[in-house]
């Protein structure tokens, strides 16, 4: 193995990429070659370094110096001064203060507790050696060589880990059901169809540290007796597909996937399944339909996937973040895990505040942190000095909460965090306009097989099109309220059941704003057209 005297980690997160990180990386490699340093200095692409507003950024080891807002023009100076002469380029050193621009990034904040994200921005996500050096695959070795499958399940149950995709079902219990179910083949499916607007945490895990998911899946396979896994990644996430596929290939080469894993005789392999653009496929039964090559239409439950899942066989379906927790629990034990978070919600949760906050990004905190901790302490508060109006919790299918919820705790006992999205809205925004957009989303994404959802989402959008055009009447509110109740009761899956939740909760909070639109025919925020020309729903 080649030894390098210096490593340069280039941030390739979304935000840095937008600021030209790829060009900087290219220039670095070219300059290093030109100076004959290619055998001494290695350039590594890593995930998001977590420097909100720092533009294209890189860290040079062994010194651990971070340079921010680097441009291609700065590269020769960095190579000449830092790498050749050993003098740091003071003017580019990251001072820890974020530039006053809005960036997607993950500034590691004091209240953060990084378990799942600990490697992100630290290791090269394409290198299995770096993952292993950080303790990766130790949990798998421990499970395969020192634990029986039922001991793994017992450990998972004792940890109290619950699903991180929004529904919060106990993971150990799900595995137990699948383990006890009869079936010729059993499957582990990782739900990476992250489609709920406002959520982008799974993307970061897949692009920044994909081996965690693989390790979690193999352990799950061992626990329930499955030999085959699928990672269902939404088609829009090209980079996630590429990084995950590469990680799988490397793990297979090293004998950590495939036949006779670590020489224990246990076989397990994983295939990446690329989705093709359908929000509803995030619903587990629709996802399975999709893997089987059909339209992503949800199925009646029960039976549930742990007994009747993929191809009718027992199947465990877990979210990316859930599976990423598994190696940590197995390596450090359930007792360690139960020491984090609250009684009903153990461990950490990754949140993705976005919208009108200063530093949208991905932050990991123990359950029980408050909404204020995340929005103000981590995401920098509301941008442009505005006041907070409300937060759509979890995404369009979640509830709307107002300013009075800021000190509520994010956990099972208090405010349910859903999958972790926090869509923050400032005082200048119109709630009716935002809800029109939410209605548009569900209308577009309804799969159309059950009437309450297909017709309900359409009528809901019609109402909002009227209201934002000043063509509604106050009695409409009762009609939509009753329609939403019907959808909640009678829709086949979560899409229709939750499509009207944001409307109901926003009406409770902002009744005056609805009244202004419907009775006084004015939009207080001045956002809606109110021109009496309601857009038709095609």
């Amino acid at each position: 193995m080649a030894l390098f005297r210096a490593h340069i980690l280039v941030d390739t997160g979304t935000s840095a990429t937008l600021k030209g990180a790829a060009a900087v990386r290219g220039a670095l490699v070219a300059e290093i070659n030109k100076r004959g340093l290619s055998n001494e200095v290695k350039v590594v692409e890593t995930g998001d370094l977590g420097l909100a507003g720092a533009g294209a950024a890189l860290v040079i080891y062994p010194e651990g110096v971070t340079y921010a807002n680097v441009t291609v023009a700065d590269v020769p100076e960095i190579v000449e001064e830092h790498l050749l002469k050993g003098r740091q380029v003071a003017r580019l050193i990251y001072t820890g203060e974020s530039a006053p621009v809005v960036e997607a990034a993950t500034a590691p904040r004091s209240a953060e507790m990084r378990v799942i994200l600990k490697n992100i921005g630290v290791i090269d996500p394409t290198s299995i050696d770096e993952y292993i050096a950080m303790g990766g695959y130790e949990a798998l070795a421990k499970a395969l060589t020192t634990m029986k499958p039922d001991q793994v399940i017992a450990e998972m149950k004792a940890s109290g880990l619950k699903g991180r995709g929004g529904a919060g079902f106990p993971t150990g219990l799900k595995w137990d059901f699948a383990s006890k179910a009869d079936g010729e083949d059993k499957y582990i499916v990782c739900n990476a169809d992250e489609g709920e607007p406002g959520n982008f945490k799974d993307r970061l895990i897949m692009e920044g540290d994909p081996h965690q998911i693989i390790e979690g899946m193999v352990i799950a396979g061992y626990a329930v007796g499955a030999h085959k896994g699928y990672i269902y990644i939404r088609g829009e996430y090209q980079q996630s597909v590429a990084h995950t596929e590469r990680a799988i290939a490397v793990a297979r080469e090293m004998g950590l996937l495939g036949t006779d894993i670590m020489g224990t005789g246990f076989n397990f392999d994983i295939t990446v399944f690329k989705g093709a653009g359908a929000y509803v496929c995030g619903e587990e039964t629709a996802l399975l339909e999709s893997i089987e090559g059909r339209r992503g239409e949800s199925q009646m439950k029960p039976p549930f996937p742990p007994t009747h899942g993929l191809l009718g066989q027992p199947t465990v379906i877990n979210n990316v973040e859930t599976l990423a927790n598994v190696p940590h629990i197995i390596a450090k034990g359930a007792e360690w895990f139960t020491g984090i978070g609250t009684a009903q919600s153990r461990g950490t949760k990754i949140f993705s505040p976005c919208g009108d906050v200063q530093y949208p990004g991905v932050y990991e905190v123990p359950f029980g942190a408050t909404l204020r901790d995340i929005i103000y302490t981590m995401a920098g508060g509301i941008k442009n000095g505005k006041k907070l109006k409300g937060v759509l919790m979890g995404g369009p299918s979640g509830v709307f909460v107002g300013e009075d919820a800021l000190d509520r705790r994010l956990c099972g006992e208090d405010l349910n965090p859903g999958a972790g999205a926090l869509i923050v809205v400032d005082e200048d925004k119109c709630i009716v306009d935002l809800m029109q957009n939410v209605a548009q989303f569900f209308y577009h994404e309804s799969c159309g097989q059950c009437v309450p959802c297909r017709e309900g989402t359409k009528r809901m959008l019609e109402f909002f099109n009227w209201w934002t055009a000043g063509a509604g009447s106050e009695s409409d509110l009762k009609l939509l309220d009753s329609l939403v109740s019907t959808m909640q009761t009678a829709s086949r899956c979560g899409l229709g059941q939750f499509a009207g939740v944001a409307f109901k909760s926003s009406l409770a909070l902002f009744a005056d704003e609805y009244k202004a639109h419907l009775k006084d025919k004015t939009c207080p925020a001045g956002v809606c057209s109110m021109d009496k020309i309601a857009q038709e729903v095609a």
């Binding site: 979304t14 359908a278 339209r295 919208g355 995404g395």
Partner: protein
């Protein structure tokens, strides 16, 4: 390689059969097959769907039903470059409407349309997981975020049609 659009083209049919072979001749591989078809032919034609159905031994409606369900599958030719504008709530509150108008003004067509020279397909899509840099668009596989309407013309200029295409050839 592109589809030649002619019915009964032997070469196209052979190419489809080859893709089915590569992905595995099984109904459960339909979505990977459609991805591959689109990647090699640009879109999924009726003829291609008929061939796939025959190869897999399923009714054409079964293939058609799946292909039409997913928004990333194109059943008609699309522009050389695809502009996807996110119109989900996080981008919406950060001003995606103004971005939509700026794109429409720059290329002369609205969402759901193709420019006359065939250079751009413009569509609004649901969340692409770029909420941290809202409002965002993707052009082909390139991401653009933290957008302002003013930034649009220079971004689109990178994808401008060459002069021969502008003449409609």
């Amino acid at each position: 390689m592109g589809s030649c659009d002619s019915k009964g083209c032997v070469a196209c049919e052979a190419a489809v059969v080859e893709i089915v072979e590569k992905c595995g001749r099984c109904e459960t591989n339909l979505i990977p097959i459609l991805h591959e078809l689109q990647a090699s032919m640009g879109y999924i034609s009726n003829e291609a769907m008929e061939t796939v159905a025959a190869e897999l031994g399923v009714p054409v409606g079964r293939v058609h039903g799946t292909a039409t369900f997913y928004s990333l599958f194109y059943l008609k030719p699309h522009g050389k470059n695809i502009i996807r504008l996110c119109d989900s709530p996080p981008c919406h509150i950060e001003g995606s409407k103004a971005i939509r108008d700026a794109v429409a003004k720059a290329i002369g067509v609205g969402p759901g349309e193709i420019t006359a020279d065939g250079n751009f397909t413009f569509e609004t899509v649901s969340c692409m997981g770029l909420c941290g840099v809202a409002p965002a668009i993707m052009i082909n596989e390139d991401v653009y975020g933290n957008l302002t309407p003013e930034a649009i013309p220079s971004i689109l200029a990178k994808y401008a049609a060459c002069s021969c295409c502008k003449e409609g050839k």
